[in-house]
Symmetry: C2
């Protein structure tokens, strides 16, 4: 008999009909003998509705009070599911974050979980009840309601699984697993049976928005086996787990991630002196602009070129800030490009395989795709290319790294 | 500096604009130097919306889980008002019933308040904050959310005022006070400056639906001065308080209540033996039908007639039950009438004034209104008459007992 934490997101509980379907699913697991803790988000759209309501009172709602309002979203869904389970003859009980109790810090709207009291839940499980817990919320030491920030329900699920030492934390969503790349771009994309936490982190941060990054980090830290599954379709999903001993069969790379939300900025001809990187990125950071890739190459003539990428929405702001910096540093010029895309190959396998990067560059070269920037980590190689080549690049890499689904190859 | 508990109902917080108006009002009181605890209902319609949602899952929603859902209604309004106050520079904090903590029994959907912890509220008041509390809800000893049942926000207000020994509990509503009778029926009806708890109970239970009966009982028991005021109009309202020494000026009766929701049933010619009343009303009660007036007159020929009133909605059911009883008791017949109305005069003054009832009967006789049933209590005389005479009777009594507004007499 396994102890499983199951998390269902907003679209999975978006209507009463969907909640009934979730209840059917939970009942089936219960009947198979598993102990179940179910974590729910608010009905899709509800959190936004509540935030809008608060914004009618104030553009900058008081964070403590905003949490009081938005936390009602999950409070409704947990009780509805508990009712639906009881209607099916499955004993169930709902708990808010406060009732569990999920203790967080007092950083309202983006609180972090400090501790989870597992006593009530264990007692209920022992009594044969399914425990339905509100995701995304907790309570601070003063008894004030807190929320974990967007996507926090995944984190609640993982944290509960860690606290309860659950056998698995299942995240039900609208995709049936993690794919080698986006199936809309590469029809031969394959669902992965397994992926490591590290790979998942790289995939997630690169735009495969299946799981909240924080939840994956949390799962990795506490070694909670995490499984991504489709809410209403059968299937094994994708298991996200620790990096087991690398077997012969392990592919060199697990997937190809991409992102077309970025823009590139270059400041040319800056004096190559200590502190120049901070001189350039300090003002960008002070303007609250997040920087992704940063590349600085070796200098020539004692000056260097410095390139970084930002979210496209921040491009204009970043360009203005950089222009001021250029004047101050007596730089030659500032150039930028919004028509770029980032493509990354991700895989723990590349740690022990030489030549992975060159194989990537070769595949791109074969398609005459020019590489504008390169950045690498231990389990990832990212390149920036012209946006129009994105699909071509992803498909070429998917084939080059032998990720294409064999059964669908001939389609 | 007074400590005042103010309660605003669903229509007073029905929209964001209304909540802003309530915030303006609270701010004004705060600036006048009062310490304030504000109790709120859910936005009007919201509780019904939430119940409907639950009923989509189950016709008979699990009471514990239903409370989890419906309690979110007030949770939203308290945070919105706290935000609106803070926006106005008035320090404020919101608390759910659980956060206060308002301890209740575990009778979900109709819980009773057992105890209120006043520590947090006192600390906040001392720190200069307005405390905004969710009405209608509490928490039981197991930490489960409970609700007090419909209209329970009035009860929360009174209970908080009692626990805090507040100087006054103000109930803001959509009328500007308690009237001598319904102004829609008698244009000379006057707002009462004062009324006793006992009178208010009789008025309320007879259909002057200004305050929840439970709240009035509670206020009377703990001697909390209760004031009914209009949410958005200025005015002193009506103070509901203990029966002070009767002064010369005290009117004999305070008001005239009426009710056209009842129907009358008579079982004729039942044997006048011990236990016959139970034999008749036992089955009615077993069928979950509430009985209001009961009249049994002296017998003749060892049989008697037994008459009682029920809510019109229960008339058909009651008639069927009574028909079966009649067969069993060998009664002569069962007759009934749904076209009746009950009119009552209410006033603590009648305790010390003889002839109040006869003055009532005289006034009705003058208008040729036949009295079908009579029932009296220490501070009330009720009669049942034909429904079509209702308005005439109320106006005649209003004049006979000198309740007409002098200033409006000539209108």
């Amino acid at each position: 008999m396994a102890l499983i934490v199951q998390k269902f997101g907003g679209t999975s509980v978006g209507t009463v009909e969907r909640i009934e379907q979730v209840a059917d699913k939970v009942k089936k697991f219960r009947e198979a003998g598993d102990d179940l803790v179910v974590v729910l988000s608010a009905m899709s759209g509800e959190t936004n509705r509540l935030i809008e309501l608060a914004k009618q009172i104030s553009d900058q709602p008081v964070p403590r009070e905003l949490d009081v309002i938005v936390s009602t979203g999950e409070q409704v869904t947990i009780a509805l599911l508990a009712m639906a389970l009881i209607k099916r003859g499955v004993p169930a009980v709902s708990y808010t974050g406060n009732q569990v109790r999920i203790l967080t810090d007092s950083a309202h709207n983006k609180a972090r979980i400090l501790q989870i009291d597992d006593q009530k839940i264990r007692a209920d499980l022992k009594a044969g009840r399914v425990v339905v817990v509100a995701g995304f919320q907790g309570v601070d030491e003063h008894g004030s309601i807190t929320t974990l920030g967007r996507g926090g329900s995944d984190t609640t699920g993982v944290a509960l699984a860690a606290a309860l030492k659950a056998d698995e934390c299942q995240i039900y969503t609208d995709v049936d697993g993690v794919y080698t790349t986006d199936p809309r771009v590469v029809s031969q994309a394959q669902r992965l049976d397994k992926i490591t936490f590290e790979e998942m982190l790289e995939m997630a941060s690169l735009g495969s928005k299946v799981l909240q990054i924080r939840a994956v980090e949390f799962a990795g830290k506490y070694n909670v086996p995490l499984r991504v599954l489709h809410s209403f379709q059968e299937g094994p999903g994708t298991l996200i787990t620790i990096d087991e001993e690398e077997s012969m069969e392990q592919p060199i790379i697990s997937g190809i991630a991409f992102n077309r939300d970025e823009a590139k900025l270059t400041i040319r001809g800056v004096p190559d002196t200590p502190g120049v990187a901070f001189g350039i990125l300090g003002p960008i950071s002070a303007a609250n602009i997040e920087v992704d890739m940063i590349v600085q190459n070796v200098s020539h003539d004692n000056t260097t070129d410095f390139t970084f990428t930002v979210h496209r929405n921040d491009y204009d702001k970043a360009q203005k800030v950089l222009g001021e910096t250029a004047l101050k540093l007596n730089a030659r010029e500032v150039i930028g490009d919004t028509k770029i895309a980032k493509v990354s190959i991700v895989g723990v396998g590349m740690r022990s395989h030489a030549g992975v990067a060159s194989r990537m560059f070769e595949a791109l070269a074969k398609e005459s795709i020019n590489i504008q920037m390169i950045s690498t980590s231990e389990i990832k190689v990212s390149v920036v290319i012209e946006e129009k080549y994105l699909e071509l690049a992803v498909r070429a890499l998917h084939t080059a790294f032998e990720l294409d689904a064999p059964s669908r190859q001939g389609e």
